[in-house]
């Protein structure tokens, strides 16, 4: 097969016109535990599924505050995600120092994408193995962007990434038209529903997910556990827990890439260092 010859470094093309290393990096995003985002005219909600690496450990943080007006959710290599969030924080703070104004979200995303792109064109580098959902608010309203290791970025009304994100995407695709004029509360509820889709029958609790919100008059913040649990209880009592697909497939599908983030279920014999 072709692969072996053409996937040894990022800058080598395959005859079919592909860069395998970049594609592998995108795989890392798919294998991380899911993160979703959606927005209305005034608010952006980010959500993530928390997966602990073992019974004994806590899960890793997947949602980061960048500034009062920007937050990110990540899927993939958490370590890379933290490096990129740190970069975003410093860009925001420098902009604020120079102009006493907050950095437009779109600009930050372009800078971030450029940074990721460089890694796909240098033989001595590797692409970032993380996908970022960047939610933000600026002069031109609320925005949600998806940034991926290839250096591409897209603006979305709603998006899901990570393991079993397809189910969440399907949910979001079905409902996205209602999001634009949605209230803050409904947006949070839709976020929880979308997250639940990725659990494939596992029970959604405030332990297994994180929600964050920002919007007009509301600085970015992660919702505390009680608030999230209260919301879950509320719609479960209301019998709104629409049936979700079949059980099983306990976070399956992940093979040797499992090392990626706390992501899917851990093949016990693969340590994160084996990546």
């Amino acid at each position: 097969m072709f692969r072996k010859q053409y996937d040894t470094d990022v800058t080598t093309w395959s005859p079919a016109g592909r860069l395998f290393q970049v594609e592998y990096a995108m795989e890392a995003v798919k294998q991380g535990s899911a993160a979703i985002g959606l927005r209305s005219k005034t608010h952006v909600v980010l959500g993530s599924v928390n997966k602990a690496n073992s019974e004994l450990s806590s899960h890793q943080k997947k949602i980061f505050k960048v500034d009062d007006h920007i937050g990110v959710a990540i899927a993939g290599l958490t370590a890379d995600g933290r490096v990129l969030s740190r970069y975003m924080r410093s860009e925001c703070i420098n902009y604020e120092y120079s102009y006493e104004a907050s950095l437009p979200v779109g600009r930050l995303v372009v800078q971030l994408a450029d940074k990721a792109q460089v890694c796909t064109q240098r033989s001595w580098k590797r692409p970032y193995g993380v996908g970022l959902l960047v939610g933000g608010l600026d002069e031109s309203g609320a925005h949600l962007y998806y940034n991926c290791p290839s250096g591409n970025y897209f603006e979305y009304q709603a998006f899901a990434m990570g393991s079993r994100s397809q189910a969440a995407k399907t949910y979001l695709e079905r409902k996205y038209e209602t999001f634009v004029d949605s209230t803050r509360e409904n947006l949070l509820k839709d976020a929880l529903f979308a997250l639940r889709e990725t659990l494939q029958g596992e029970k959604l609790t405030s332990f297994t997910c994180t929600l964050a919100i920002l919007g007009v008059g509301e600085a970015f913040h992660v919702l505390d556990q009680q608030t999230v649990q209260a919301m879950i209880n509320e719609f479960e009592l209301a019998g709104e827990d629409a049936p979700t697909a079949e059980e099983g497939d306990q976070a399956g599908g992940v093979e040797e890439g499992a090392a990626v983030e706390q992501g899917a279920p851990l093949d016990q014999d693969v340590t994160p260092m084996d990546l």
Partner: protein, 246 residues
């Protein structure tokens, strides 16, 4: 050779390297006061066109007010070449901002803050830009008027002036300025200030420009002169009531 490095001239170089001494440590060609006010639709500014070489009125047609991007207007007093350098920085800034082509643009508040950083940074290098600046603008219906000087002191107000204007124009503005001045009233008020400055500031010349900025954009009007009357008694023999001891 070590000894040479430790000698007296080297000590001086600790603070002032040879390149430093090439810098503008005192102003050469300077412009005098700028006056700016908020009015109903935006900001009005006035400045005369004199350029003094020391105390010699050397140039008579120096434009000291320029537009900065779509939403801002800057007026400068002090060293003219430093103002020109500053305009280059601002051109770069606006060009870079436009190149994003994303619908966002720097407003007057942002430009003012940027200027503040530049001015304070230069003073910290012991190489100040020898200017006092007034920055006015309108963006999204919000009027903005601020000032920065060569050591980085900065503030906003409804009306502002630099240099001599602080002493001669601002008292007038404090008495007569109001929130909803029309364009005509605003120009009249500025002319009143500029006339007082012309009479009492020896660096002022009788050729001035008015500039305005509104939501529609910047307009710097053609230069003109003020009517003056020099035949006041007090002007004819100014020392008459102020006898010295000799």
């Amino acid at each position: 050779m070590m000894k040479e490095n430790n000698s007296a001239p080297a000590k001086m170089n600790l603070l002032l390297s040879p390149e430093d001494s090439q810098r503008t440590l005192s102003p050469y060609v300077t412009g005098t006061s700028v006056v700016g006010i908020k009015y109903k639709d935006g900001i009005l500014m006035a400045a005369d066109m004199g350029g003094s070489y020391g105390s010699t009125l050397r140039y008579k047609s120096v434009e000291r007010m320029k537009s900065v991007g779509k939403h801002s207007l800057i007026g400068a007093s002090g060293e003219i070449s430093d103002f020109q350098e500053l305009l280059r920085y601002l051109d770069d800034l606006i060009l870079y901002d436009n190149m994003w082509d994303d619908g966002n643009s720097l407003g007057p508040k942002e430009v003012h803050n940027y200027l503040t950083r530049v001015m304070y940074n230069r003073r910290n290098k012991f190489d100040p830009l020898w200017s006092s600046l007034v920055l006015g603008g309108v963006k999204n219906g919000k009027k903005y008027l601020g000032t920065v000087n060569m050591i980085g002191v900065h503030y906003e107000d409804d009306h502002l002036a630099t240099g001599f204007g602080n002493h001669l124009a601002r008292p007038i503005l404090r008495d007569e300025w109001k929130e909803d001045l029309s364009f005509e009233e605003g120009v009249k008020l500025l002319e009143k200030c500029m006339r007082v400055l012309l009479y009492r500031d020896r660096s002022a010349v009788n050729k001035l420009q008015i500039a305005k900025i509104t939501e529609e954009g910047v307009k710097v009007y053609d230069p003109y002169s003020l009517k003056t009357f020099w035949n006041f008694k007090a002007f004819q023999n100014p020392t008459v009531g102020a006898e010295g001891s000799w």
